[in-house]
Symmetry: C2
Subunit: 269 residues, 2 copies
DNA sequence: GACGGACTGTCGTCCAGACGACAGTCCTAG
DNA sequence: CTAGGACTGTCGTCTGGACGACAGTCCGTC
Protein backbone atom coordinates (compact mmCIF):
# COMPACT_ATOMS: atom_id res chain seq x y z
CA UNK A 1 0.00 0.00 0.00
CA UNK A 2 1.41 3.37 -0.93
CA UNK A 3 2.19 5.57 2.02
CA UNK A 4 1.48 8.96 0.62
CA UNK A 5 -1.47 9.38 -1.66
CA UNK A 6 -1.75 12.21 -4.05
CA UNK A 7 -5.03 14.04 -3.65
CA UNK A 8 -7.67 12.66 -5.94
CA UNK A 9 -7.83 14.96 -8.89
CA UNK A 10 -10.84 14.42 -11.03
CA UNK A 11 -11.17 16.50 -14.10
CA UNK A 12 -13.56 16.63 -16.95
CA UNK A 13 -12.13 15.14 -20.12
CA UNK A 14 -12.42 17.95 -22.56
CA UNK A 15 -9.26 18.02 -24.59
CA UNK A 16 -8.44 15.70 -27.48
CA UNK A 17 -8.71 11.95 -27.46
CA UNK A 18 -7.50 10.12 -24.39
CA UNK A 19 -4.84 7.49 -24.68
CA UNK A 20 -7.25 4.65 -24.28
CA UNK A 21 -7.40 2.80 -27.54
CA UNK A 22 -10.99 1.79 -27.46
CA UNK A 23 -11.96 5.41 -27.13
CA UNK A 24 -9.40 6.26 -29.78
CA UNK A 25 -11.05 3.85 -32.16
CA UNK A 26 -14.47 5.45 -31.79
CA UNK A 27 -15.66 7.60 -34.65
CA UNK A 28 -15.75 11.29 -33.75
CA UNK A 29 -19.48 11.36 -33.53
CA UNK A 30 -19.62 8.58 -31.01
CA UNK A 31 -16.77 9.92 -28.98
CA UNK A 32 -18.30 13.37 -28.75
CA UNK A 33 -21.47 11.76 -27.56
CA UNK A 34 -19.54 10.09 -24.77
CA UNK A 35 -17.17 12.89 -23.87
CA UNK A 36 -19.37 14.96 -21.56
CA UNK A 37 -19.73 11.93 -19.33
CA UNK A 38 -16.05 11.06 -19.08
CA UNK A 39 -13.96 12.07 -16.15
CA UNK A 40 -10.23 11.60 -16.02
CA UNK A 41 -9.27 10.08 -12.70
CA UNK A 42 -5.89 9.01 -11.38
CA UNK A 43 -5.31 5.31 -10.89
CA UNK A 44 -2.81 3.86 -8.48
CA UNK A 45 -0.99 0.63 -8.17
CA UNK A 46 -2.92 -1.93 -6.09
CA UNK A 47 -6.10 0.06 -6.57
CA UNK A 48 -9.15 -2.18 -6.56
CA UNK A 49 -11.79 -1.14 -9.08
CA UNK A 50 -14.38 -3.56 -7.94
CA UNK A 51 -14.75 -6.67 -5.84
CA UNK A 52 -16.89 -9.73 -6.37
CA UNK A 53 -20.48 -9.16 -5.40
CA UNK A 54 -20.27 -5.41 -5.58
CA UNK A 55 -22.52 -3.44 -7.80
CA UNK A 56 -20.51 -1.54 -10.36
CA UNK A 57 -20.75 2.23 -10.26
CA UNK A 58 -18.33 3.13 -13.01
CA UNK A 59 -16.45 1.68 -15.87
CA UNK A 60 -12.87 2.75 -16.48
CA UNK A 61 -11.14 3.16 -19.78
CA UNK A 62 -7.51 2.86 -18.78
CA UNK A 63 -4.96 5.20 -20.28
CA UNK A 64 -2.10 2.95 -19.32
CA UNK A 65 -0.87 0.32 -16.93
CA UNK A 66 -2.04 -3.22 -16.40
CA UNK A 67 -5.09 -4.29 -14.46
CA UNK A 68 -5.74 -7.89 -13.47
CA UNK A 69 -9.17 -9.41 -13.59
CA UNK A 70 -9.06 -11.94 -10.82
CA UNK A 71 -11.03 -14.53 -8.94
CA UNK A 72 -10.70 -14.74 -5.20
CA UNK A 73 -10.88 -18.18 -3.68
CA UNK A 74 -12.38 -18.72 -0.26
CA UNK A 75 -8.88 -19.51 0.85
CA UNK A 76 -8.00 -15.86 0.19
CA UNK A 77 -5.72 -16.47 -2.76
CA UNK A 78 -6.46 -14.56 -5.91
CA UNK A 79 -5.78 -15.77 -9.43
CA UNK A 80 -5.76 -13.80 -12.60
CA UNK A 81 -8.05 -14.72 -15.45
CA UNK A 82 -7.32 -11.83 -17.76
CA UNK A 83 -5.39 -8.58 -17.98
CA UNK A 84 -6.77 -5.24 -19.03
CA UNK A 85 -4.66 -2.43 -20.39
CA UNK A 86 -5.06 0.73 -22.37
CA UNK A 87 -6.73 -1.24 -25.11
CA UNK A 88 -9.62 -2.16 -22.88
CA UNK A 89 -11.87 -1.09 -20.09
CA UNK A 90 -12.58 -2.25 -16.57
CA UNK A 91 -16.13 -3.22 -15.74
CA UNK A 92 -17.04 -5.62 -18.51
CA UNK A 93 -20.01 -6.83 -16.51
CA UNK A 94 -21.64 -3.49 -17.20
CA UNK A 95 -21.67 -4.37 -20.86
CA UNK A 96 -23.80 -7.38 -20.09
CA UNK A 97 -26.45 -6.18 -17.74
CA UNK A 98 -27.96 -3.09 -16.26
CA UNK A 99 -27.71 -3.97 -12.62
CA UNK A 100 -24.12 -4.90 -13.10
CA UNK A 101 -23.03 -6.91 -10.11
CA UNK A 102 -19.45 -7.91 -10.54
CA UNK A 103 -18.30 -11.50 -10.23
CA UNK A 104 -14.65 -10.67 -10.31
CA UNK A 105 -12.10 -8.49 -8.66
CA UNK A 106 -10.18 -5.97 -10.71
CA UNK A 107 -6.84 -4.89 -9.29
CA UNK A 108 -4.46 -2.39 -10.77
CA UNK A 109 -1.28 -4.31 -11.12
CA UNK A 110 1.33 -2.21 -12.70
CA UNK A 111 1.84 1.49 -12.31
CA UNK A 112 0.21 4.76 -11.59
CA UNK A 113 -1.64 6.15 -14.54
CA UNK A 114 -5.06 7.55 -15.14
CA UNK A 115 -8.31 6.42 -16.63
CA UNK A 116 -11.45 7.80 -18.20
CA UNK A 117 -14.25 7.09 -15.83
CA UNK A 118 -17.85 6.77 -16.89
CA UNK A 119 -20.85 6.04 -14.73
CA UNK A 120 -22.55 2.74 -15.43
CA UNK A 121 -25.76 4.61 -16.10
CA UNK A 122 -24.21 6.82 -18.77
CA UNK A 123 -22.37 3.80 -20.11
CA UNK A 124 -25.54 1.80 -20.51
CA UNK A 125 -27.31 4.67 -22.14
CA UNK A 126 -24.46 5.16 -24.56
CA UNK A 127 -24.47 1.46 -25.37
CA UNK A 128 -28.16 1.57 -26.14
CA UNK A 129 -27.85 4.63 -28.33
CA UNK A 130 -24.57 4.06 -30.11
CA UNK A 131 -24.33 0.83 -32.07
CA UNK A 132 -20.74 1.52 -32.99
CA UNK A 133 -19.77 1.62 -29.35
CA UNK A 134 -21.70 -1.56 -28.75
CA UNK A 135 -19.91 -3.29 -31.58
CA UNK A 136 -16.49 -2.13 -30.51
CA UNK A 137 -16.91 -3.12 -26.89
CA UNK A 138 -18.53 -6.40 -27.86
CA UNK A 139 -15.41 -7.24 -29.79
CA UNK A 140 -13.30 -6.29 -26.84
CA UNK A 141 -15.34 -8.52 -24.61
CA UNK A 142 -14.71 -11.37 -26.94
CA UNK A 143 -11.01 -10.69 -26.68
CA UNK A 144 -11.22 -10.82 -22.90
CA UNK A 145 -13.12 -14.06 -23.00
CA UNK A 146 -10.57 -15.48 -25.38
CA UNK A 147 -7.84 -14.49 -23.01
CA UNK A 148 -9.59 -16.12 -20.10
CA UNK A 149 -10.01 -19.35 -21.96
CA UNK A 150 -6.42 -19.41 -23.09
CA UNK A 151 -5.27 -18.63 -19.58
CA UNK A 152 -7.32 -21.48 -18.19
CA UNK A 153 -5.66 -23.93 -20.51
CA UNK A 154 -2.22 -22.43 -20.08
CA UNK A 155 -2.43 -22.55 -16.31
CA UNK A 156 -3.18 -26.25 -16.44
CA UNK A 157 -0.69 -27.42 -19.00
CA UNK A 158 2.26 -25.10 -19.00
CA UNK A 159 5.12 -24.62 -16.61
CA UNK A 160 5.49 -21.66 -14.31
CA UNK A 161 8.29 -20.51 -16.54
CA UNK A 162 6.14 -20.41 -19.62
CA UNK A 163 3.35 -18.70 -17.76
CA UNK A 164 5.71 -16.08 -16.40
CA UNK A 165 6.91 -15.32 -19.89
CA UNK A 166 3.36 -15.10 -21.14
CA UNK A 167 2.53 -12.61 -18.44
CA UNK A 168 5.57 -10.50 -19.07
CA UNK A 169 4.95 -10.37 -22.79
CA UNK A 170 1.35 -9.37 -22.38
CA UNK A 171 2.27 -6.77 -19.80
CA UNK A 172 4.92 -5.48 -22.13
CA UNK A 173 2.36 -5.13 -24.89
CA UNK A 174 0.09 -3.20 -22.61
CA UNK A 175 2.79 -0.97 -21.22
CA UNK A 176 4.44 0.17 -24.42
CA UNK A 177 7.72 0.48 -22.61
CA UNK A 178 10.63 -1.68 -21.62
CA UNK A 179 10.42 -1.49 -17.88
CA UNK A 180 7.75 -1.38 -15.26
CA UNK A 181 7.19 -2.15 -11.60
CA UNK A 182 6.25 -5.68 -10.69
CA UNK A 183 7.33 -7.80 -7.76
CA UNK A 184 7.84 -11.54 -7.90
CA UNK A 185 5.24 -11.96 -5.22
CA UNK A 186 2.58 -10.23 -7.27
CA UNK A 187 3.38 -12.19 -10.36
CA UNK A 188 3.38 -15.41 -8.40
CA UNK A 189 -0.05 -14.71 -7.03
CA UNK A 190 -1.49 -13.90 -10.44
CA UNK A 191 -0.14 -17.12 -11.86
CA UNK A 192 -1.14 -19.20 -8.89
CA UNK A 193 2.50 -20.12 -8.33
CA UNK A 194 4.71 -19.77 -5.29
CA UNK A 195 7.01 -16.81 -4.90
CA UNK A 196 10.26 -18.81 -4.71
CA UNK A 197 9.41 -20.55 -7.95
CA UNK A 198 8.80 -17.27 -9.71
CA UNK A 199 12.04 -15.92 -8.29
CA UNK A 200 13.92 -18.90 -9.61
CA UNK A 201 12.35 -18.54 -13.03
CA UNK A 202 13.03 -14.82 -13.09
CA UNK A 203 16.63 -15.60 -12.23
CA UNK A 204 16.90 -17.97 -15.17
CA UNK A 205 15.38 -15.49 -17.55
CA UNK A 206 17.77 -12.87 -16.33
CA UNK A 207 20.73 -15.19 -16.66
CA UNK A 208 19.61 -15.88 -20.21
CA UNK A 209 19.70 -12.17 -20.90
CA UNK A 210 16.01 -11.90 -21.65
CA UNK A 211 14.97 -9.63 -18.82
CA UNK A 212 16.52 -7.65 -16.04
CA UNK A 213 14.93 -7.66 -12.65
CA UNK A 214 15.74 -5.51 -9.74
CA UNK A 215 13.69 -4.92 -6.67
CA UNK A 216 10.24 -4.53 -8.01
CA UNK A 217 11.24 -3.45 -11.47
CA UNK A 218 11.41 -5.58 -14.59
CA UNK A 219 13.07 -4.56 -17.78
CA UNK A 220 12.36 -6.45 -20.95
CA UNK A 221 15.74 -6.75 -22.59
CA UNK A 222 15.25 -9.23 -25.37
CA UNK A 223 11.66 -9.39 -26.43
CA UNK A 224 12.26 -11.70 -29.34
CA UNK A 225 14.08 -14.06 -27.04
CA UNK A 226 11.17 -14.02 -24.65
CA UNK A 227 8.76 -14.82 -27.42
CA UNK A 228 10.94 -17.71 -28.40
CA UNK A 229 10.71 -19.34 -24.99
CA UNK A 230 7.01 -18.58 -24.48
CA UNK A 231 4.28 -21.09 -25.02
CA UNK A 232 1.87 -20.51 -27.87
CA UNK A 233 -0.63 -19.07 -25.46
CA UNK A 234 0.94 -15.67 -25.73
CA UNK A 235 0.65 -15.67 -29.48
CA UNK A 236 -2.95 -16.80 -29.26
CA UNK A 237 -3.92 -14.06 -26.84
CA UNK A 238 -2.01 -11.50 -28.80
CA UNK A 239 -3.78 -12.53 -31.97
CA UNK A 240 -7.10 -11.86 -30.26
CA UNK A 241 -5.97 -8.39 -29.30
CA UNK A 242 -4.78 -7.66 -32.78
CA UNK A 243 -8.24 -8.38 -34.05
CA UNK A 244 -9.56 -5.39 -32.14
CA UNK A 245 -8.10 -2.95 -34.58
CA UNK A 246 -9.70 -3.54 -37.94
CA UNK A 247 -7.10 -2.98 -40.63
CA UNK A 248 -4.53 -0.47 -39.50
CA UNK A 249 -4.59 0.54 -35.93
CA UNK A 250 -4.04 3.91 -34.32
CA UNK A 251 -0.68 5.45 -34.92
CA UNK A 252 1.38 4.29 -32.00
CA UNK A 253 4.95 3.43 -31.43
CA UNK A 254 4.55 0.33 -29.38
CA UNK A 255 5.44 -3.19 -30.27
CA UNK A 256 1.73 -3.72 -30.26
CA UNK A 257 1.63 -2.74 -33.87
CA UNK A 258 4.36 -5.03 -35.08
CA UNK A 259 2.21 -7.40 -37.01
CA UNK A 260 -0.87 -7.55 -39.16
CA UNK A 261 -4.04 -8.74 -37.49
CA UNK A 262 -4.62 -12.39 -37.92
CA UNK A 263 -7.79 -13.61 -36.33
CA UNK A 264 -8.29 -16.89 -38.02
CA UNK A 265 -5.12 -18.46 -36.91
CA UNK A 266 -3.92 -18.21 -33.39
CA UNK A 267 -0.32 -19.02 -34.12
CA UNK A 268 1.70 -16.53 -35.95
CA UNK A 269 3.78 -17.68 -38.89
CA UNK B 1 -17.42 -41.89 -32.41
CA UNK B 2 -20.84 -43.46 -32.60
CA UNK B 3 -21.09 -46.22 -35.16
CA UNK B 4 -24.62 -45.82 -36.35
CA UNK B 5 -25.98 -42.35 -36.72
CA UNK B 6 -29.63 -41.62 -36.72
CA UNK B 7 -30.64 -39.61 -39.74
CA UNK B 8 -30.58 -35.91 -39.05
CA UNK B 9 -34.12 -34.92 -38.33
CA UNK B 10 -34.67 -31.22 -38.33
CA UNK B 11 -38.09 -30.01 -37.49
CA UNK B 12 -39.64 -26.67 -37.01
CA UNK B 13 -40.27 -25.88 -33.36
CA UNK B 14 -43.95 -25.22 -33.30
CA UNK B 15 -45.33 -26.86 -30.20
CA UNK B 16 -45.05 -25.46 -26.67
CA UNK B 17 -41.93 -24.21 -25.02
CA UNK B 18 -38.78 -26.24 -25.47
CA UNK B 19 -36.93 -27.56 -22.49
CA UNK B 20 -34.22 -24.99 -22.71
CA UNK B 21 -34.49 -22.75 -19.72
CA UNK B 22 -33.41 -19.55 -21.30
CA UNK B 23 -36.15 -19.91 -23.83
CA UNK B 24 -38.49 -20.95 -21.06
CA UNK B 25 -37.74 -17.75 -19.21
CA UNK B 26 -38.65 -15.55 -22.13
CA UNK B 27 -41.96 -13.74 -21.98
CA UNK B 28 -44.50 -15.13 -24.44
CA UNK B 29 -44.22 -12.16 -26.71
CA UNK B 30 -40.50 -12.54 -27.11
CA UNK B 31 -40.62 -16.25 -27.52
CA UNK B 32 -43.25 -16.05 -30.22
CA UNK B 33 -41.08 -13.59 -32.00
CA UNK B 34 -38.25 -16.09 -31.96
CA UNK B 35 -40.20 -19.26 -32.62
CA UNK B 36 -40.50 -19.14 -36.39
CA UNK B 37 -36.72 -19.12 -36.59
CA UNK B 38 -36.08 -22.02 -34.27
CA UNK B 39 -35.39 -25.48 -35.54
CA UNK B 40 -35.17 -28.48 -33.31
CA UNK B 41 -32.10 -30.49 -34.24
CA UNK B 42 -30.67 -33.65 -32.70
CA UNK B 43 -27.39 -33.36 -30.90
CA UNK B 44 -24.99 -36.21 -30.39
CA UNK B 45 -22.24 -36.97 -27.99
CA UNK B 46 -18.86 -35.71 -29.20
CA UNK B 47 -20.59 -33.38 -31.63
CA UNK B 48 -18.54 -30.26 -32.24
CA UNK B 49 -20.66 -27.13 -32.55
CA UNK B 50 -17.87 -24.88 -33.58
CA UNK B 51 -14.09 -24.75 -33.65
CA UNK B 52 -11.74 -21.89 -32.99
CA UNK B 53 -11.44 -19.55 -35.93
CA UNK B 54 -14.67 -20.68 -37.54
CA UNK B 55 -17.41 -18.27 -38.29
CA UNK B 56 -20.53 -19.17 -36.40
CA UNK B 57 -23.57 -20.07 -38.44
CA UNK B 58 -26.00 -20.97 -35.71
CA UNK B 59 -26.49 -20.71 -32.02
CA UNK B 60 -27.95 -23.67 -30.14
CA UNK B 61 -30.22 -23.58 -27.16
CA UNK B 62 -29.64 -26.99 -25.65
CA UNK B 63 -32.55 -29.00 -24.37
CA UNK B 64 -30.33 -31.22 -22.29
CA UNK B 65 -26.89 -32.67 -21.94
CA UNK B 66 -23.61 -31.00 -21.20
CA UNK B 67 -21.46 -29.15 -23.68
CA UNK B 68 -17.89 -28.11 -22.93
CA UNK B 69 -16.50 -24.80 -24.02
CA UNK B 70 -12.86 -25.56 -24.57
CA UNK B 71 -9.55 -24.15 -25.66
CA UNK B 72 -7.30 -26.19 -27.86
CA UNK B 73 -3.61 -25.85 -27.28
CA UNK B 74 -1.16 -26.13 -30.14
CA UNK B 75 -0.08 -29.36 -28.54
CA UNK B 76 -3.51 -30.77 -29.38
CA UNK B 77 -4.79 -31.01 -25.86
CA UNK B 78 -8.11 -29.39 -25.10
CA UNK B 79 -9.12 -27.89 -21.78
CA UNK B 80 -12.51 -26.90 -20.63
CA UNK B 81 -13.21 -23.34 -19.54
CA UNK B 82 -16.94 -23.61 -19.01
CA UNK B 83 -19.86 -26.00 -19.38
CA UNK B 84 -23.12 -25.25 -21.09
CA UNK B 85 -26.33 -27.10 -20.38
CA UNK B 86 -30.04 -26.66 -20.83
CA UNK B 87 -29.83 -23.38 -18.98
CA UNK B 88 -27.64 -21.85 -21.63
CA UNK B 89 -26.84 -21.66 -25.28
CA UNK B 90 -23.88 -22.49 -27.45
CA UNK B 91 -22.40 -19.69 -29.51
CA UNK B 92 -21.93 -16.93 -26.99
CA UNK B 93 -19.62 -15.12 -29.39
CA UNK B 94 -22.67 -14.35 -31.50
CA UNK B 95 -23.98 -12.28 -28.64
CA UNK B 96 -20.94 -10.08 -28.85
CA UNK B 97 -20.47 -9.37 -32.50
CA UNK B 98 -22.10 -9.71 -35.86
CA UNK B 99 -19.35 -11.46 -37.72
CA UNK B 100 -19.07 -13.94 -34.93
CA UNK B 101 -15.81 -15.74 -35.33
CA UNK B 102 -15.42 -18.21 -32.54
CA UNK B 103 -12.35 -18.33 -30.35
CA UNK B 104 -13.29 -21.53 -28.65
CA UNK B 105 -14.32 -25.06 -29.40
CA UNK B 106 -17.67 -26.32 -28.20
CA UNK B 107 -17.96 -30.08 -27.81
CA UNK B 108 -21.00 -32.00 -26.71
CA UNK B 109 -19.81 -33.93 -23.77
CA UNK B 110 -22.56 -35.90 -22.29
CA UNK B 111 -25.45 -37.51 -24.06
CA UNK B 112 -27.65 -37.42 -27.09
CA UNK B 113 -30.33 -34.83 -26.81
CA UNK B 114 -31.62 -32.07 -29.02
CA UNK B 115 -31.33 -28.36 -29.29
CA UNK B 116 -33.18 -25.38 -30.69
CA UNK B 117 -31.08 -24.03 -33.48
CA UNK B 118 -31.20 -20.44 -34.63
CA UNK B 119 -29.21 -18.83 -37.40
CA UNK B 120 -26.79 -16.17 -36.26
CA UNK B 121 -28.51 -13.72 -38.53
CA UNK B 122 -31.92 -14.29 -36.96
CA UNK B 123 -30.28 -14.32 -33.57
CA UNK B 124 -28.65 -10.95 -34.09
CA UNK B 125 -31.85 -9.48 -35.40
CA UNK B 126 -33.78 -10.77 -32.44
CA UNK B 127 -31.16 -9.35 -30.08
CA UNK B 128 -31.48 -5.96 -31.69
CA UNK B 129 -35.25 -5.97 -31.55
CA UNK B 130 -35.97 -7.65 -28.23
CA UNK B 131 -34.41 -6.00 -25.22
CA UNK B 132 -35.71 -8.70 -22.94
CA UNK B 133 -33.82 -11.32 -24.87
CA UNK B 134 -30.74 -9.15 -24.78
CA UNK B 135 -31.00 -8.76 -21.05
CA UNK B 136 -31.56 -12.43 -20.41
CA UNK B 137 -28.69 -13.59 -22.57
CA UNK B 138 -26.43 -10.89 -21.22
CA UNK B 139 -26.99 -12.29 -17.77
CA UNK B 140 -26.25 -15.73 -19.02
CA UNK B 141 -23.04 -14.53 -20.55
CA UNK B 142 -22.02 -13.13 -17.24
CA UNK B 143 -22.65 -16.51 -15.68
CA UNK B 144 -20.42 -18.16 -18.25
CA UNK B 145 -17.68 -15.63 -17.66
CA UNK B 146 -17.97 -16.19 -13.94
CA UNK B 147 -17.64 -19.89 -14.48
CA UNK B 148 -14.56 -19.42 -16.61
CA UNK B 149 -12.91 -17.27 -14.02
CA UNK B 150 -13.69 -19.67 -11.22
CA UNK B 151 -12.44 -22.56 -13.31
CA UNK B 152 -9.19 -20.76 -13.98
CA UNK B 153 -8.57 -20.33 -10.28
CA UNK B 154 -9.76 -23.81 -9.40
CA UNK B 155 -7.52 -25.45 -11.97
CA UNK B 156 -4.51 -23.74 -10.49
CA UNK B 157 -5.11 -24.21 -6.81
CA UNK B 158 -7.20 -27.30 -6.30
CA UNK B 159 -6.44 -30.98 -6.55
CA UNK B 160 -7.62 -33.21 -9.33
CA UNK B 161 -9.98 -34.75 -6.83
CA UNK B 162 -11.66 -31.48 -6.03
CA UNK B 163 -11.87 -30.57 -9.66
CA UNK B 164 -13.41 -33.90 -10.53
CA UNK B 165 -16.05 -33.39 -7.92
CA UNK B 166 -16.75 -29.90 -9.17
CA UNK B 167 -17.23 -31.21 -12.66
CA UNK B 168 -19.51 -34.00 -11.58
CA UNK B 169 -21.67 -31.70 -9.50
CA UNK B 170 -22.06 -29.19 -12.29
CA UNK B 171 -22.82 -31.93 -14.78
CA UNK B 172 -25.36 -33.34 -12.36
CA UNK B 173 -27.03 -29.96 -12.12
CA UNK B 174 -27.22 -29.73 -15.87
CA UNK B 175 -28.45 -33.26 -16.37
CA UNK B 176 -31.28 -33.37 -13.87
CA UNK B 177 -30.71 -37.08 -13.40
CA UNK B 178 -28.54 -39.37 -11.39
CA UNK B 179 -26.60 -41.07 -14.11
CA UNK B 180 -25.06 -40.16 -17.39
CA UNK B 181 -22.35 -41.28 -19.77
CA UNK B 182 -18.85 -40.00 -19.17
CA UNK B 183 -15.52 -41.74 -19.48
CA UNK B 184 -12.54 -41.07 -17.26
CA UNK B 185 -10.54 -40.12 -20.31
CA UNK B 186 -12.98 -37.38 -21.26
CA UNK B 187 -13.13 -36.00 -17.78
CA UNK B 188 -9.36 -36.07 -17.52
CA UNK B 189 -8.98 -34.10 -20.70
CA UNK B 190 -11.47 -31.46 -19.60
CA UNK B 191 -9.69 -31.00 -16.33
CA UNK B 192 -6.25 -31.07 -17.85
CA UNK B 193 -5.37 -34.10 -15.76
CA UNK B 194 -4.09 -37.52 -16.72
CA UNK B 195 -6.44 -40.41 -17.16
CA UNK B 196 -4.88 -42.65 -14.48
CA UNK B 197 -5.19 -39.88 -11.94
CA UNK B 198 -8.86 -39.42 -12.71
CA UNK B 199 -9.38 -43.17 -12.52
CA UNK B 200 -7.75 -43.25 -9.12
CA UNK B 201 -9.87 -40.39 -7.89
CA UNK B 202 -13.02 -41.94 -9.29
CA UNK B 203 -12.10 -45.12 -7.47
CA UNK B 204 -11.79 -43.26 -4.19
CA UNK B 205 -15.10 -41.49 -4.67
CA UNK B 206 -16.73 -44.78 -5.44
CA UNK B 207 -15.17 -46.45 -2.41
CA UNK B 208 -16.52 -43.59 -0.34
CA UNK B 209 -19.99 -44.35 -1.65
CA UNK B 210 -20.40 -41.00 -3.34
CA UNK B 211 -20.64 -42.15 -6.93
CA UNK B 212 -20.81 -45.33 -8.89
CA UNK B 213 -18.80 -45.68 -12.04
CA UNK B 214 -19.00 -48.37 -14.62
CA UNK B 215 -17.66 -48.34 -18.10
CA UNK B 216 -18.53 -44.92 -19.32
CA UNK B 217 -21.43 -44.36 -16.96
CA UNK B 218 -21.41 -42.38 -13.74
CA UNK B 219 -24.14 -42.46 -11.19
CA UNK B 220 -24.31 -39.81 -8.54
CA UNK B 221 -25.18 -41.72 -5.40
CA UNK B 222 -24.66 -39.27 -2.59
CA UNK B 223 -24.91 -35.73 -3.82
CA UNK B 224 -24.65 -34.17 -0.40
CA UNK B 225 -21.53 -36.15 0.24
CA UNK B 226 -20.04 -34.93 -3.00
CA UNK B 227 -20.80 -31.35 -2.10
CA UNK B 228 -19.09 -31.91 1.20
CA UNK B 229 -15.81 -32.92 -0.43
CA UNK B 230 -15.94 -30.33 -3.18
CA UNK B 231 -14.01 -27.11 -3.12
CA UNK B 232 -15.95 -23.88 -2.85
CA UNK B 233 -15.66 -23.39 -6.56
CA UNK B 234 -18.70 -25.49 -7.17
CA UNK B 235 -20.78 -23.40 -4.83
CA UNK B 236 -19.53 -20.23 -6.42
CA UNK B 237 -20.37 -21.36 -9.94
CA UNK B 238 -23.69 -22.67 -8.82
CA UNK B 239 -24.53 -19.38 -7.18
CA UNK B 240 -23.93 -17.66 -10.51
CA UNK B 241 -26.32 -20.01 -12.23
CA UNK B 242 -28.95 -19.50 -9.59
CA UNK B 243 -28.88 -15.82 -10.34
CA UNK B 244 -30.19 -16.50 -13.81
CA UNK B 245 -33.66 -17.21 -12.58
CA UNK B 246 -34.99 -14.12 -10.90
CA UNK B 247 -37.12 -15.15 -7.95
CA UNK B 248 -38.59 -18.59 -8.48
CA UNK B 249 -37.32 -20.63 -11.30
CA UNK B 250 -39.15 -22.88 -13.72
CA UNK B 251 -40.96 -25.79 -12.18
CA UNK B 252 -38.52 -28.62 -12.38
CA UNK B 253 -37.67 -31.55 -10.26
CA UNK B 254 -33.93 -31.28 -10.32
CA UNK B 255 -31.67 -30.49 -7.45
CA UNK B 256 -31.09 -27.31 -9.34
CA UNK B 257 -33.93 -25.77 -7.43
CA UNK B 258 -32.84 -26.71 -3.96
CA UNK B 259 -31.84 -23.29 -2.80
CA UNK B 260 -32.78 -19.69 -3.10
CA UNK B 261 -30.69 -17.58 -5.43
CA UNK B 262 -27.88 -15.84 -3.70
CA UNK B 263 -25.84 -13.67 -5.93
CA UNK B 264 -24.04 -11.51 -3.50
CA UNK B 265 -22.28 -14.22 -1.69
CA UNK B 266 -20.60 -17.00 -3.50
CA UNK B 267 -20.54 -19.39 -0.58
CA UNK B 268 -23.73 -20.85 0.57
CA UNK B 269 -24.54 -20.77 4.25
C1' DG C 1 -20.30 -67.49 -28.08
C1' DA C 2 -16.30 -65.32 -29.58
C1' DC C 3 -13.86 -61.28 -30.81
C1' DG C 4 -12.41 -56.63 -30.81
C1' DG C 5 -12.79 -52.31 -28.94
C1' DA C 6 -13.49 -49.30 -25.31
C1' DC C 7 -13.03 -48.41 -20.65
C1' DT C 8 -10.92 -48.99 -16.01
C1' DG C 9 -7.53 -50.37 -12.17
C1' DT C 10 -3.00 -50.23 -10.84
C1' DC C 11 1.94 -50.05 -10.53
C1' DG C 12 6.72 -47.96 -11.03
C1' DT C 13 9.35 -44.00 -11.88
C1' DC C 14 10.28 -39.38 -11.96
C1' DC C 15 9.95 -34.42 -11.49
C1' DA C 16 7.88 -29.79 -11.13
C1' DG C 17 6.75 -27.14 -7.87
C1' DA C 18 4.72 -26.19 -3.08
C1' DC C 19 6.10 -24.76 1.45
C1' DG C 20 8.89 -23.00 5.10
C1' DA C 21 12.88 -20.79 6.33
C1' DC C 22 16.49 -17.60 6.29
C1' DA C 23 20.00 -14.64 4.67
C1' DG C 24 21.29 -11.07 1.58
C1' DT C 25 20.26 -6.69 -0.95
C1' DC C 26 18.30 -2.53 -2.22
C1' DC C 27 15.44 1.62 -1.30
C1' DT C 28 13.56 5.15 1.08
C1' DA C 29 12.03 7.79 4.96
C1' DG C 30 13.48 9.95 8.78
C1' DC D 1 23.65 8.03 7.69
C1' DT D 2 20.87 4.71 9.39
C1' DA D 3 17.11 1.70 10.32
C1' DG D 4 13.30 -0.70 8.79
C1' DG D 5 10.76 -2.50 5.23
C1' DA D 6 10.31 -4.55 0.93
C1' DC D 7 12.10 -7.46 -2.35
C1' DT D 8 15.00 -11.34 -3.99
C1' DG D 9 18.10 -15.64 -3.97
C1' DT D 10 18.47 -20.09 -2.40
C1' DC D 11 18.20 -24.39 0.06
C1' DG D 12 15.92 -28.66 2.04
C1' DT D 13 12.02 -31.47 2.14
C1' DC D 14 8.03 -33.46 0.54
C1' DT D 15 4.20 -34.69 -2.46
C1' DG D 16 0.75 -34.50 -6.12
C1' DG D 17 0.44 -35.91 -10.25
C1' DA D 18 2.43 -36.86 -15.03
C1' DC D 19 3.75 -40.59 -18.02
C1' DG D 20 4.15 -45.16 -19.75
C1' DA D 21 2.80 -49.67 -19.42
C1' DC D 22 -0.06 -53.53 -18.96
C1' DA D 23 -3.61 -56.45 -17.42
C1' DG D 24 -8.39 -56.98 -16.38
C1' DT D 25 -13.37 -56.06 -17.46
C1' DC D 26 -17.42 -54.97 -19.78
C1' DC D 27 -20.12 -54.44 -24.05
C1' DG D 28 -21.80 -54.60 -28.55
C1' DT D 29 -21.31 -56.92 -32.94
C1' DC D 30 -20.71 -60.53 -35.95
Amino acid sequence: MPKKRRPLSVRQSTEGRPQNRLLALLPDEDFHHLRPHLQTVPVRRTQVFHKAGERLRHVYFLNGGVCSLTTRLSHGAIVEAATIGDSGFVGIEAFLRDDAVSLSEAIMQVPDTDAERLSVKAFRRALAERPVLRTLLGRYLQVVIGQMMQTTACNVHHSVRERCVRWLLIAHDHMHRQNFTLSHAFLAEMLGASRPTVSAVAGQLQAAGLIRYSHGRVTVVDRTGLEAVSCDCYAAIRAHFDCLQPGRQANRTSSYAQEPPNCRQAHRP
